[in-house]
């Protein structure tokens, strides 16, 4: 170990891994519906796509978790993005490719991907 920067680099790299274990109220939560209907419609690849994309971009303040059936099985895989202090956004009929875009547009840049939302589908 030669410098503080070197230590900091290790710290940043592993930080995401351990920060999950601290109760942080202000983090964004991505909830993927993983009841029977969700899994049958292909929710698992969507979930892993979220995890992979977040890791690739080194985003640590986002928590990916599963949730049960919210009752709109025809729209599965359903993904909800909950940002503290903002309205919940519900994306429907998700695919891994769409998950990547949600991370890029919504999580990183803060722009909700309107055409993926439940609002766009039920119009």
């Amino acid at each position: 170990m030669k410098s503080l920067a070197e230590l900091q680099a290790i710290r940043d790299k592993v930080r995401a891994q351990v920060s999950v274990r601290e109760g942080q109220e202000d983090r964004i939560r991505i909830l993927v519906g993983m009841a029977t209907c969700g899994i049958a419609a292909g929710a698992r690849p969507v979930l892993t796509a979220f995890i992979d994309e977040l890791e690739k971009r080194g985003i640590t303040n986002v928590q990916v978790t599963q949730t049960g059936c919210i009752g709109i099985c025809q729209f599965e895989p359903v993904v909800e993005v909950v940002t503290p202090g903002k309205d919940k956004v519900t994306y429907v009929k998700m695919t891994p490719e769409m998950a990547v875009r949600v991370v890029n547009d919504h999580i990183v840049n803060g722009n909700v991907v309107q055409e993926f939302t439940i609002g766009a589908h039920t119009k």
């Binding site: 170990m1 030669k2 410098s3 503080l4 230590l7 900091q8 290790i10 710290r11 790299k13 592993v14 930080r15 995401a16 891994q17 351990v18 920060s19 999950v20 274990r21 601290e22 109760g23 993983m34 009841a35 698992r44 979930l47 892993t48 995890i51 992979d52 977040l54 890791e55 928590q63 990916v64 978790t65 599963q66 949730t67 049960g68």
Partner: protein
């Protein structure tokens, strides 16, 4: 990235209830479900709630599963990890409030705690140095080596008010400055991990759960006093702690956090382990240093203190594990932050190992000044099996008893010393009304008699005679004047022993005499044990009016001491009775009494 972390306690308590196997099964099951890329299984140190082990926590939800068995694993993986449904029936009951599940930190056990020394225990994997670094580990060492002068480091520790957590409460900063002032070609930093009190396991838990915090603090101490070599003296009876320390030292060396020219500052520091074979006297500083040198573990007179002439005759500082566990936090957050926790003369927190007749046996860390009542009744969940609090014993064989009238005393070094107990290393044993105080004193005395190194006559022979007198009293052979003889011998031993072992050995007797003298009197004069614990002073009797002659007692008596025909009143042959109490436990009609 993993979306979920499953933490399995790998402390000694949970390990002995099979947590290693549980971890293996979890990994297996997770792999079977194809979740191994998303879910990370982590072995951690102690969470504190040892009585509920084995413990498994699932993050990000923070679900606290207690008393998990191998049969529960598929359900946790299938329901929680795959489908996202928390398995309520396995949750720690106190985290469930009606239908809502609240966080572990809101439960009575954790709410009043403040974790400084134990901050990483149960959070990180102690065998992965990167996890410690992720929790700001080694940044205190980095800060010290790149930004601070040695005297500044010592000043911060002095200002923080940190006092030795091994029991004595000597100001840590002062100890460091004394060693720093003495010029020498070589100085040493030593760590006392020879935790010997019966019922104490604080240091073991820190070393098992967060070994790097001790290594980092020792390196900081080395820089502060000008030492380049550290030794950790740990008892070989702590195999998990020894193994994790070895791994930790190896990893720190690989990353260059121990060794030559750390942080390019020109500072060299390395640490080695020295295993002790479990002699209690080696917890005393001069004996410990003698043992590291390879000599017999015997104390020597002080002065010269180790800060002047310690290991191999060189200036040495010796601190306890828990003391070191506070150091990095003080450097990172500052002396004022540490000062803000605790009482006027005792700063910071103290870790206690709760044991005895208490609901939540385990490890807790509370700010100094927390009352005994808060620790026992709120955090500890109260006396187990509905018993009534009688006294708490702190400080092990060197300490004393705190009777119920002092339940509201604020715990710090000075308050405890004032009432004849002591902080000690942190063992806190709760006793209820079924505990005989004379019997307790005898128990601790038997320990010190075994552990006296034999150097001082007062300790070697005095404690033996003291034990014999106690045995006479609990054996029902006490005579007038015995209590007075006991007292004067106690003072003689205290005054004529070289080290703390002998000086404090009579404390359990003196403090029980101070607060429970009536029990001694009852033993000596009435040959009666009020708590009914001393076997030779109690008899078991069948109450004829209640006995229906079911024969259960007779069938269960291990020595065949109970006679009687079916449907007739039974009786106990006291010549054969070994007073095990099995008959009383088994009687459904409360027809057997102990007197």
């Amino acid at each position: 990235m993993y979306r979920s972390n499953v933490l399995v306690c790998g402390g000694t308590g949970c390990s002995s209830s099979n947590s290693q196997e549980i971890m293996r099964r979890l990994e297996e099951e997770i792999k079977k479900k194809g979740l191994d890329k998303e879910v990370n299984v982590v072995c951690t140190g102690c969470f504190g709630l040892c009585s509920l082990g084995p413990v498994v926590i699932v993050y990000p939800e923070g679900s606290f599963y207690s008393q998990v068995t191998l049969a529960d694993i598929p359900e946790i993986v299938e329901e929680h990890l795959l489908k996202g449904r928390i398995v309520k029936r396995l949750l720690y009951q106190e985290t469930i409030d009606k239908d809502a599940i609240h966080s572990l930190t809101d439960t009575p056990f954790y709410k009043k705690q403040k974790r400084i020394a134990l901050r990483n225990c149960g959070v990180i994997n102690p065998e992965v140095i990167e996890e410690y670094i992720a929790m700001d580990g080694y940044s205190a060492l980095g800060k010290v080596l790149t930004e601070m002068k040695p005297e500044e480091v010592i000043q911060v520790i002095k200002d923080s008010g940190l006092r030795g957590r091994g029991g004595g409460g000597f100001p840590t900063g002062l100890k460091w400055s004394l060693a720093a002032q003495n010029d020498a070609d070589q100085k040493y930093v030593c760590c006392n991990a020879d935790e010997g009190d019966p019922g104490a396991f604080m240091d073991r838990s820190v070393l098992e759960g967060d070994p790097h915090s001790v290594l980092e603090a020792m390196a900081i101490a080395g820089y502060a006093i000008g030492a380049t070599q550290g030794y950790i003296y740990i008892r070989a009876e702590y195999p998990i702690a020894v193994e994790r320390l070895q791994i930790a030292i190896q990893q720190a060396r690989e990353l260059g956090l121990l060794g030559k020219n750390i942080f390019d500052s020109g500072f060299d520091f390395d640490i080695e382990l020295r295993l002790g074979s479990g002699a209690f006297v080696c917890g005393e500083e001069t004996s410990l240093l003698a043992s590291i040198e390879g000599h017999r573990g015997e104390p020597r007179p002080r002065p010269p203190y180790p800060a002047v002439k310690g290991l191999y005759g060189k200036p040495t500082i010796l601190n306890n594990v828990e003391t070191y566990a506070n150091i990095a936090q003080i450097i990172l957050h500052g002396a004022d932050w540490f000062q803000s926790v605790g009482t006027e003369r005792s700063k910071g927190t103290k870790v206690f190992a709760l044991g005895g007749k208490i609901k939540h046996t385990g490890l807790v860390e509370v700010p100094m000044g927390t009352t005994l009542r808060e620790i026992v009744e709120e955090i500890g969940g109260g006396v187990s099996d509905g018993g009534k609090f009688k006294a708490a014993q702190t400080g092990g064989p060197s300490g004393g008893c705190i009777p119920s009238k002092f339940l509201d005393i604020e715990i710090d070094y000075d308050n405890l010393t004032e009432i004849g107990a002591m902080m000690g290393s942190g063992g806190l044993i709760v006793m209820d009304e079924s505990t005989c105080m004379v019997d307790i004193a005898e128990f601790f005395l038997r320990f010190t008699v075994d552990e006296s190194c034999g150097k001082c006559t007062a300790c070697r022979i005095g404690t033996k005679r003291l034990l014999e007198m106690l045995e006479k009293i609990t054996g029902g052979r006490g005579e007038d004047g015995d209590i007075e003889k006991l007292e004067s011998l106690c003072h003689y031993i205290k005054d004529n022993s070289l080290c703390a072992l002998g000086q404090t050995a009579p404390n359990p007797v003196l403090s029980t005499l101070q607060y429970f003298r009536d029990e001694y009197v009852a033993h000596v004069h009435d040959h009666h044990c009020p708590a009914g614990a001393c076997k030779e002073l109690t008899i078991y009797r069948v109450l004829p009016e209640k006995c229906i002659g079911c024969t259960k007692c007779a069938r269960n008596c291990p020595v065949g001491a109970i006679h009687g025909n079916v449907k007739e009143h039974h009786f106990i042959d006291m010549n054969k009775c070994i007073k095990c109490g099995v008959c009383m436990e088994n009687c459904k009609f409360d027809a057997i009494v102990r007197e």
